[in-house]
Symmetry: C2
Subunit: 82 residues, 2 copies
């Protein structure tokens, strides 16, 4: 079943307390080489039919307008996965 994956991340210049907490935990458990962690969303839009270019454009718009908050988040990726 084809799906469109929309990936949303907190903006780069924004603090991400959840990611910071995970980074601290990883450091404590010995993973010193991981300099930072950021946590965002991966949203799958499922389709019962083939995905068209129009669907991809619509998904991009849905990602910008509905699935993300443009004040604090960026849509970093919109791709089709079959």
């Amino acid at each position: 079943m084809p799906k469109i994956i929309v990936e949303v991340m907190p903006k780069a210049d924004l603090l991400d307390p959840q990611g910071k907490a995970v980074a601290n935990a990883l450091h404590r458990s010995g993973n010193k080489d991981i300099s930072a962690v950021r946590i965002g969303k991966r949203i799958e839009l499922h389709f019962d039919r083939e995905v068209t270019d129009a669907d991809l454009a619509a998904a991009r718009k849905i990602g910008e307008d509905f699935l993300s908050n443009a004040v604090i988040e960026d849509v970093v990726n919109v791709v089709v996965e079959n």
Copy 2:
């Protein structure tokens, strides 16, 4: 700066109420062709140096053991992004 992306999704046979709510809202706003929505996590592990195969293996293990809950979630993807 290279990073490793770990993607975690709720298991396929599990109810995803958040995704269901988004799907319902998309249907109400006219996107009838989206049959289902599932919402997971996209976690970026940042590095200050080049990422090695050992880092990727370690990230896979971190994803399984620490970033996801194997009872309800699957790690669907672990990739390097430069």
